[in-house]
């Protein structure tokens, strides 16, 4: 394995990898490029060099304020993830360190709650939200997104906790730690990388959620998914504008994803790697 890889070989792999990477990334890249074109350029055929105009961004911003939905997206995705962590950490602790015969079934069952097609339950949920006054509130959506992502959070934390040797928790118990001490002082800090990656993944999932966030909001709590929904225009192909709006909607999470790539990979594995 550690034999010298010849330079030519390395260059060959590099070229192949870059081609694959660019092909995969191309749609996003092209959307970004298009967002910097004028509308005429945008539909004028293949062209990788835009005129670098920001008029589409200005148009988008003047049509719909970006800041409020952006803030809503941040609050909803981070809030729901934190809520989910608060519920999921104890559950994952219990399942990882005090497993019963049914632990795996419970985990599967949790995942299976994600199988209900959202549209089929829209009316019940809509009515519940109306009756409880949660409609178009951040808190309502935060709770909903928390519930949607809870199975994934529990699952990820569970696989992560299982890697932590039980002896360390026992040591803490011997050292006089109560259960609370054990979770607060030992388990949580030790699982920080795992918790961080769980947090990241769920922020992304919540950020990209585009059904409930549109159906259950009007103005107050509408996040970027709703912002995007107002840009595929019925009158004309405003692709530059659409691209600009899309870029604005995905940029924050894309950048977050890029920066936390390594961290994310750890959490993503769902216990796939032992």
């Amino acid at each position: 394995m550690a034999r010298a890889v010849s330079r030519n070989q390395k260059i060959g792999w590099t070229i192949a990898a870059w081609i694959v990477a660019l092909v995969i990334f191309f749609p996003i890249l092209y959307a970004i490029i298009t967002s910097l074109k004028t509308e005429q350029e945008a539909i004028a055929g293949f062209n990788l060099i835009p005129s670098f105009t920001f008029e589409s961004y200005q148009a988008v911003q003047s049509q719909n304020d970006y800041f409020k939905p952006f803030m809503n997206s941040v609050i909803l995705s981070v809030g729901s993830t934190i809520l989910a962590l608060i519920v999921a950490i104890p559950a994952a602790w219990a399942m990882a360190f005090s497993p019963t015969k049914r632990t795996k079934d419970i985990l599967m069952w949790m995942l299976s709650t994600k199988m209900m097609p959202a549209v089929a339950v829209l009316v019940p949920i809509y009515l519940i939200f109306l009756r409880t006054g949660l409609m178009d509130t951040r808190i309502g959506l935060t709770i909903l997104l928390m519930l949607i992502n809870l199975p994934i959070v529990v699952w990820m934390l569970y696989t992560y906790f299982r890697e932590i040797p039980g002896e360390i928790l026992e040591a803490a118990r011997m050292d006089g730690a109560t259960l609370r001490d054990e979770i607060v002082h030992i388990l949580t800090p030790m699982a920080v990388p795992g918790i961080a990656s769980t947090l990241l993944l769920n922020v992304i999932l919540a950020w990209n959620e585009a059904f409930w966030t549109i159906q259950l909001t009007t103005t107050n709590a509408a996040p970027l998914s709703a912002f995007i929904a107002s840009f595929s225009s019925p009158q004309g192909l405003f692709w530059a504008k659409l691209s600009a709006a899309s870029t604005m909607a995905i940029a924050p999470i894309l950048i977050l994803g890029w920066f936390s790539q390594k961290q994310l990979v750890r959490g993503l594995t769902f216990g796939a790697v032992k």
Binding site: W13, L22, P90, I106, K114, I250, G257, T269
Partner: protein, 289 residues
């Protein structure tokens, strides 16, 4: 670990998550079940009546029903195949020593961060559009007639888009798995005279079995629920060529505002999805231990 104290504590700590999810499952499910036995159209709410099994009968006699089940299968399996096979190849490629490895990885995982409707819009308008898309430009460049992807190969086009979104997920999990492959094993196989392809078949693939299982399991759950991409691109057409089960329910719920029918469809979908899930767990679940 195993004292009575900790066991009872554990029960207490599991409870909130389980109770929350139970409520989150049972309340909507119960209401949906109830609705599925009603003639209930949102546009005519005053005219609601008991329907018995009619909604179910109506749903599965829908001319699109069997085709949609077939499409759901093709879509799920197609995406799984592309993402797993592609994921393995890409993971192996970016695991090699290359220049700019970090950037390459970032580029490869990016599609994962794009909202499904946005992804569908980009592909539909800028990539696959028969007049303005990049594919059309490429076809024209080679003097071929541009292909109208969504009309000619609707399901395939959707598979491509969904696979593009999920490829990073598969690639990442498989990559991490690949990195945990024991170098000595590979060396041992090399000393045993195994050429690269044999090493891949006999060592790398079996090693990744667990990761592949996880990819299949998690993705299946998400793939069964794909509809936004269909809605944005083909609207389920032409004909029913790209209608899957979830989209069929969507159609009932959002175009016909037929709450009873959509509820019945939802129940049918839940039952089918659970059958698939149980089947999957039986088939591959032991890989997870």
């Amino acid at each position: 670990m195993a004292t009575r104290q900790t066991a009872s504590l554990a029960r207490l700590m599991r409870a909130p998550a389980i109770v929350l999810l139970l409520i989150w499952m049972l309340v909507p499910l119960g209401m949906t079940l109830y609705y599925s036995f009603l003639n209930y159209n949102l546009l005519n709410p005053t005219n609601t009546s008991w329907a018995g099994w009619f909604n179910y009968q109506y749903f599965y006699t829908d001319p699109a029903f069997w085709e949609s089940i077939w499409n759901t299968l093709v879509l799920t399996l197609g995406v799984l195949f592309i993402t797993v096979a592609g994921g393995i190849l890409i993971a192996m490629l970016i695991d090699k020593p290359i220049f700019g490895q970090g950037i390459v990885r970032i580029l490869v995982i990016s599609p994962f961060f794009v909202m499904p409707p946005v992804a569908a819009l980009i592909w539909k308008n800028m990539i696959m559009h028969p007049s303005y898309g990049v594919f059309a430009d490429i076809a024209k460049f080679f003097g071929a007639a541009p292909i109208d992807w969504f009309a000619q190969f609707p399901l395939f086009s959707i598979i491509v888009i969904v696979a593009w979104q999920w490829l990073p997920f598969a690639t990442l999990i498989l990559l991490t798995s690949l990195q945990s492959l024991d170098g000595e094993q590979m060396e041992a196989a090399e000393m045993d005279g195994a050429p690269a392809l044999s090493r891949f078949i006999y060592l790398t693939l079996p090693h990744m079995a667990r990761a592949i299982t996880v990819v299949i399991l998690i993705q299946t759950i998400f793939l069964l629920g794909v509809y936004a991409e269909i809605l944005v691109t083909t609207n389920g057409g032409p004909g029913f060529a790209s209608t899957n089960l979830t989209y069929l329910i969507y159609r009932a719920a959002r175009l016909n505002f037929d709450i009873g029918g959509a509820a019945a469809g939802g129940i049918i979908a839940v039952v089918l999805a659970n059958i698939v899930a149980i089947f999957l767990m039986r088939a591959v679940g032991k890989n997870l231990d």
